[in-house]
């Protein structure tokens, strides 16, 4: 193998440089040529199955599959000759013979390669006069996927993905020829990456059960953001319609997640509209919850924090928070309150990976917490604060994202201990977007934002700082955690100095 060597070849007469050994399709697409394909995928081994990517190469009597032909010095490739166009038309006609043409009810419509190529290359009228098309049964491939083989183009991206990337052969090819059946034998497709298959499928043959019949893809607003399900920080699109997240799809980043995301991350948006969301600020008065306006709640929080001696205060946040939130948290704790008892997690996060993407660390921003919190010499030692609370040494305890302490190893137990410890604390405040045992035991609750609803940055396990972007808007009177912290700090400084720093509402 020759490394780092580039060669020059010609695509439709235009000189193009490419790494030696690259396949014609890759080099030509990079150079801006248009080549249709089904089976080619940059992350999978070349297969040469679909025959859509045929191109003319001078010196070869037959058209060549550009996905399996490596470029050579001086090679002359033509992607737009009459012969190539004819071959595309012919091959496409074969694809459409048995295709059900059920685009109106197909989830893939709008992002379907077959649909696009049909508009671009196909004959206007079908010459197929043989009545019945080939029919398969619908098949349930397990909890995640659903198969409609009638739509299949036999590109085998699904099977190849399972084999090459996941290392699992539950999905395979059965029978042969015109009866070829892509299916399972015995075990469902349950691997942790199975939903990537629905996306890899260039047509609607393998569809996600979760997204089935949920939305037309052209109605979806795509937001470039990152996944907050673990420390890997996979790059994703959060796709929403009418301010509701409908699905999450991977965004290619070779540094982080390549073309894939895990199924957990892909489905980690169900909490946004769940019944577990905290929607309004409440405060216990004589054991009865009273609803508060957001502004009032933040003002009261400042009052509570100011009312206790600094060494009787406990402040807890978890690496669920963005860098910006951690920064403001630290300013509040260190500069404003001068409170020695603050931490960014109960215990240090786990390290290492579960498999090729998933991290053992279930927090999205441990690296950021380490970087920003570590400057003060403090860090993941919240257990100390929990123990102080249990011993009744704290008057006030502020907890941001307490539901997420369950992500620590043995986290459920921590959640229980934290909730129980609140009985020993006079005033406990929770800022969180999800209810938990802890919020149930707190004396005041302020609703927070999910990762879909705010902007910010987070550092992944490789230390790459990545942008979180707002995909959907929260309710208008909702403040972000960052704003809450800024307001509390500002209010405390103003009170102490007897001046007004903020001329107007920071919003």
């Amino acid at each position: 193998m020759t490394e780092n060597k580039t060669i020059t070849f010609f695509v439709d007469g235009k000189p193009v440089t490419a790494p030696a050994g690259a396949m014609v399709i890759r080099a030509a697409l990079d150079a801006g040529a248009v080549i249709p394909y089904f089976c080619y995928h940059p992350a999978l081994k070349p297969a040469g199955l679909c025959r859509m990517c045929l191109v003319e190469i001078e010196g070869f009597p037959k058209l060549q599959a550009s996905c399996t032909t490596p470029v050579t010095e001086g090679m002359k490739v033509h992607t737009d000759t009459a012969r190539v166009e004819q071959a595309r038309k012919d091959v496409l006609e074969f694809y459409l013979l048995n295709h059900p043409l059920d685009c109106p009810i197909c989830d893939k419509a709008g992002e379907c390669q077959l649909q696009n190529y049909t508009f671009a290359y196909a004959r206007q009228n079908s010459r197929y006069r043989e009545g019945e098309k080939r029919r398969y049964n619908y098949e349930d491939l397990g909890p995640k996927l659903f198969r409609d083989m009638d739509r299949c183009v036999h590109c085998l991206r699904c099977v190849r993905f399972c084999e090459e990337i996941v290392g699992d052969d539950n999905l395979s090819v059965f029978k042969r020829g015109n009866e070829t059946d892509i299916s399972i034998f015995g075990s469902a497709v349950v691997n942790e990456y199975a939903l990537n298959i629905a996306e890899l499928c260039p047509v609607g043959a393998l569809v996600s059960k979760d997204f089935l019949y949920k939305a037309r893809v052209w109605h979806l607003k795509k937001t470039e953001t990152v996944c907050a399900s673990c420390a890997t920080g996979c790059n994703i699109y959060m796709e929403s319609k009418d301010q509701v997240v409908q699905r999450i799809t991977p965004r290619v980043n070779p540094e982080v997640n390549d073309h894939w995301i895990c199924d957990f991350g892909r489905l980690n948006f169900k909490h946004i509209n769940s019944s577990q969301r905290i929607h309004e600020s409440t405060r216990l008065e004589d054991g009865v919850p009273q609803v508060l306006e957001m502004d009032d709640a933040v003002r009261r929080l400042a009052g509570i924090l100011a009312g206790a001696p600094a060494d009787r205060l406990g402040l807890l946040i978890t690496p669920e928070a963005t860098n910006e939130e951690i920064f403001e948290f630290r300013r509040l704790a260190e500069q404003v309150l001068k409170c020695p008892h603050h931490a960014y997690g109960l215990v240090p996060p786990e390290e290492g990976k579960l498999d090729f993407l998933r991290s053992r660390d279930k927090f999205p921003n441990s690296a950021g917490a380490r970087r920003l919190g570590g400057l003060s010499g403090l860090g993941f030692d919240g257990l100390r604060i929990l123990e102080m609370a249990e011993k009744g040494e704290l008057e006030v305890l502020l907890m941001i994202y307490p539901h997420s302490v369950s992500k620590h190893p043995g986290g459920e137990a921590f959640l229980g201990r934290l909730a129980a410890a609140l009985a020993q604390v006079q005033t406990s405040v929770v800022i969180d977007y999800l209810q938990s045992k802890v919020s149930g035991a707190a004396t005041m609750i302020i609703p927070g934002l999910t990762h879909a609803e705010k902007n910010g940055t987070m550092d992944n396990s490789k230390g790459i700082t990545q942008k979180l972007r707002r995909a959907i808007f929260p309710s208008p009177d909702q403040l972000s955690e960052q704003e809450m912290l800024i307001r509390v700090s500002t209010a405390l400084v103003e009170k102490r100095a007897g001046v007004t720093l903020s001329a107007s509402d920071p919003r």
């Binding site: 070349p46 297969a47 040469g48 199955l49 679909c50 025959r51 045929l54 037959k62 058209l63 599959a65 399996t68 071959a87 012919d90 091959v91 006609e93 074969f94 694809y95 013979l97 048995n98 010459r127 197929y128 006069r129 043989e130 080939r134 049964n137 619908y138 098949e139 349930d140 491939l141 397990g142 183009v153 036999h154 052969d169 539950n170 999905l171 395979s172 090819v173 059965f174 029978k175 042969r176 020829g177 015109n178 009866e179 070829t180 059946d181 299916s183 399972i184 034998f185 015995g186 075990s187 469902a188």
Partner: protein, 614 residues
């Protein structure tokens, strides 16, 4: 929405175990290959032999011993037609209804069985005695129609003879043997079939007639010299592609010291071709001798004979010949004291025409579905188990001993400049004397059909000839009278090739639509399904042809058939695309008026029974 069950075949709780003898044979198979997965086909064969069909627990067992998965096993088992996933009757009657057998009355056999035994193809009689199957070419075209009942071939069948055979089997009577088999013409100057009539099956007889002498001389020669001699002889591959053998051997990487595999392609399944079966069952030692010489020439380290699964008898004969050759030291370690070692193992296919394609053969040998690979890399660079591999046809390798013994010039004395030597032409269909004729390349086709084979029976006229196995373009009678049996003449005059040497002759009562319909059904059945033009195009063409044949043709069908052929030709991974497109295009081109008449009259103008269309 109908929900399918997740597990179509539930697995039983207690694991299955075959008998001790079967287990022993399975362990022998497992030792035959560098990977356990490669034993997939033999293991499945053994289990099916024991149980009668492949039960889910047998599949699970096979997955365990080959260290693969049930999914792999089921995926492979469903690819090959010989593996049965449901029980079949006590006698599994498989009637070949492909081209040559169809021309000689296979359709009558099927209709007769349907009437007499009350079963349609694919069904089993109520008493479980008989299952009827229509099958694709089983490589016995010159003695058709041919049927296979369980493991045995019955050739030259008529409805009456078939009843006799079946009644005998039902009553437990042995069928009188030997049964008549294919005719082999004692042509002069034979090389491959030399002395075939002298019964040289046993190693002693073969040695008495000078066998293995050349091997001893060849082992003393420098390997390069043998390669050069074969190259100089101009020997061409006789499986179908006619690629020069010496040139193929020279593609192996130079200064390479790792393993080199040698595969002998005995997957003879091209309709109209039946020459290799006779070598395997009647001259096994000539092939073994050729294989060892060739192996020595290009320094092969391991060799396999990939034999089609339906060849039970040739398998048995050839396996015995291998045992004899090992016992006499012509195979194994340090052959005849030369220091050269070669293991030659027998591998059975399981019913897939596509495995005759060399890279599909390699996949199949590795224990996978027989799906052709993308080339390059060519097998000589990266073949079996990722190592350089040479694949040659049975007949090609059987030519090697004589070339090494007598020299390239001797070989070149016959045949043509570009296609020297003799080869076996398999003549089937409508001739008076169908059979095997070893003749020099370049022999006029007219001479073969009219002089050697005695012309067309019943005083009928010649209508068409497929000159090189069913994949080659068809010739009209006019063209057939002009061409010689070498590729230069065949291509420049007839637009066809000599291919595998299978010559299928059709008389003037043959319906071209019906014949082509049956032929394209074969290619549809045998498409591996990987690439779209072949998978979809063959099925589409078959549907149109059957519709025309049944009287439902439309005027635009002819153009559509031509377009389908064009859409397949050159656009597929392997040559099966051309194998479908060439006959399709050539039949429609040469016999367009007959197709048009068929469409116009809404049926066959000849009032012929559809050829093999059942």
């Amino acid at each position: 929405m109908k929900k399918h069950l997740v597990a179509p075949h539930g697995l039983p709780e207690t694991p299955y175990r075959p008998t001790a003898e079967t287990e022993k044979r399975i362990s022998t198979h497992l030792a035959n290959y560098p990977t356990k997965m490669a034993a997939t086909l033999p293991v499945l064969h053994e289990l099916q032999e024991e149980i009668g069909y492949l039960t889910p627990d047998a599949i699970a067992y096979a997955a365990r011993v080959t260290e693969t998965s049930v999914t792999h096993m089921y995926s492979v088992a469903t690819f090959y037609t010989m593996f049965r996933l449901k029980p079949v009757g006590k006698f599994d009657l498989q009637i070949c209804t492909n081209t040559s057998c169809g021309l000689t009355g296979a359709g009558d056999l099927v209709r007769h069985c349907e009437k007499t035994y009350g079963v349609k193809p694919g069904q089993t009689t109520a008493d479980g005695r008989l299952t009827l199957h229509e099958t694709e070419c089983i490589g016995s075209c010159g003695s058709g129609p041919c049927v296979q009942i369980n493991k045995d071939y019955y050739e030259w069948m008529t409805p009456e003879k078939l009843d006799d055979v079946l009644n005998g089997l039902f009553q437990g009577r042995a069928v009188g043997r030997p049964l008549p088999t294919v005719h082999i013409e004692p042509t002069p100057d034979r090389v491959v079939y030399k002395d075939i009539e002298k019964n040289l099956v046993s190693i002693d007889r073969y040695i008495e007639h000078g066998g293995y002498e050349t091997l001893k001389r060849a082992l003393a020669m420098k390997p390069e010299d043998i390669v050069n001699e074969v190259d100089a002889s101009g020997l061409r591959g006789l499986g179908g592609a006619n690629f020069p053998t010496g040139k193929k051997w020279k593609f192996l990487p130079k200064n390479y010291t790792g393993p080199i595999y040698f595969c002998i392609n005995a997957d003879e399944s091209e309709p109209g071709t039946f020459k290799d079966r006779e070598i395997l069952r009647r001259l096994p030692h000539r092939l073994i001798e050729g294989a060892v010489i060739a192996g020595h020439a290009f320094r092969a380290t391991d060799a396999y004979v990939y034999m089609r699964g339906e060849f039970y008898e040739p398998y048995r004969v050839f396996q015995q010949a291998l045992d004899e050759a090992y016992a006499r030291g012509f195979l194994g370690k340090n052959i005849a004291g030369s220091g050269f070692s070669l293991d030659l193992k027998l591998h059975r296919g399981a019913g897939a025409y596509i495995c005759g394609e060399e890279t599909a053969l390699l996949e199949s040998l590795e224990g996978k579905r027989g799906e052709p690979r993308v080339k390059p890399p060519f097998p000589a660079v990266q073949g079996l188990f990722g190592c350089p591999t040479i694949i040659n046809n049975v007949e090609t390798i059987s030519q090697v001993p004589a070339i090494v013994a007598n020299g390239a010039q001797w070989f070149r004395a016959r045949g043509t400049e570009k296609f020297p030597g003799t080869r076996v032409f398999c003549v089937s269909g409508h001739v008076n004397k169908p059979g095997l004729y070893e003749l020099p390349n370049g022999t006029p086709l007219r001479e073969l059909i009219f002089d050697w084979c005695g012309g067309i029976p019943a005083g009928r006229a010649l209508k068409a000839v497929i000159p090189g196995g069913s994949s080659m373009p068809v010739l009209t009678a006019d063209l057939a009278m002009k061409v010689n049996l070498d590729n230069d003449s065949m291509f420049s005059v007839g637009g066809s090739f000599t291919g595998s040497g299978g010559v299928i002759v059709m008389d003037d009562q043959t319906c071209m639509v019906g014949f082509l319909a049956r032929l394209i059904k074969f290619y549809e059945h045998e498409s591996c399904g990987q690439c779209t033009p072949c998978r979809e195009g063959s099925a589409w063409a078959r549907k149109i042809l059957y519709r025309i044949d049944a009287g439902g043709g439309r005027p635009e069908d002819i153009d559509t058939l031509k377009a389908i052929a064009k859409g397949i030709d050159g656009n597929t991974i392997c040559a099966l695309g051309e194998a479908t497109a060439w006959p399709l295009a050539s039949f429609v081109r040469h016999f367009e008026s007959e197709f048009a008449e068929h469409i116009e009259r809404r049926g066959c103008p000849l009032k012929a029974e559809p050829a093999g269309v059942v």
